[in-house]
Amino acid sequence: MVPIQWYLWLSVIVFSIGVFGFLSRRNIIVIFMSIELMLNGVNISLVAFSHYLQDMRGQILVFFVIAVAAAEAAIGLAIIISLFRNKATAHVDDIDEMKG
């Protein structure tokens, strides 16, 4: 039996890699993928908890996360397309319209 801590460590690592990617990459598509990474990291821990606590709600939550991720990906990518059309760039640090 694999201890739950292993799953959680894995989850933390994946999540942190996602965080790092999100904060450091310039390419907006990779940033989006970093978000997916974070979501997956969380999902791992959720499923692991579900298994460990013998509670089905963890898995239900993962289901909803996936649903929201799908929605987010659809909208986000649409935004990227429309952004690229207008600004002709996929780098987030080229977009600073809200600069104070």
């Binding site: 801590q5 942190s16 890699i17 970093s34 999902n43 898995q59 649409a78 059309r85």
Partner: protein, 172 residues
């Protein structure tokens, strides 16, 4: 022992592909690394007796979302972007933050609740006809019916939103 070996394999691949996803210069490579990542996560789910989610992970994440990513990457002409530097100016801060985040989150592990508290034990799932999927369905359509409906609405909104946002402006 076998379980630990399998877990080790999955974990190593997951971490490596994760790093490759964010490290690849070319987003197409990232997407492909991600594909690999998702398959391994699905494997992890199977190890945790979550067959339904493993299937969903493959079908939706790998099948739908990643394909969407791939389309977008291909749709955008990213030649110029690929040549520039991949990381932004807050690279170091991001690294510190990510590590800090990992440290802080992992420090909560000692707060783990003791022992199983739910009713869905392995034996109970095995005894149920249809197994994991059947139980998820039951819970989903009873206890979580309302959130489920909301999720469907969110998806509908997302569809419409995506169409509106992505379509070209009609010349009026």
């Amino acid at each position: 022992m076998l379980a630990e070996i399998f877990f080790a394999y999955f974990a190593v691949v997951i971490v490596l592909t994760s790093i490759l996803v964010i490290a690849s210069r070319n987003p197409v490579h990232s997407v492909l690394w991600m594909l690999l990542l998702f398959f391994h996560i699905a494997g992890l789910y199977l190890m945790l007796d979550a067959e339904f989610l493993a299937a969903i992970q493959i079908i939706i994440y790998a099948g739908a979302i990643l394909v969407l990513f791939l389309f977008v990457v291909l749709l955008l002409n990213l030649k110029e972007e690929i040549k520039g530097r991949p990381f932004s100016r807050i690279f170091v801060i991001a690294l510190v933050l990510a590590i800090g985040m990992a440290v802080v989150i992992s420090s909560t592990m000692k707060l783990l609740p003791p022992g199983p508290v739910g009713q869905y034990s392995m034996d109970m799932i095995r005894a149920t006809k249809g197994g994991n999927s059947s139980i998820i369905g039951r819970v989903m359509y009873t206890e979580f019916l309302f959130p489920f409906e909301i999720a469907s609405t969110i998806l509908l909104v997302a569809i419409i939103g995506a169409i509106v946002l992505a379509k070209k402006r009609l010349r009026s």
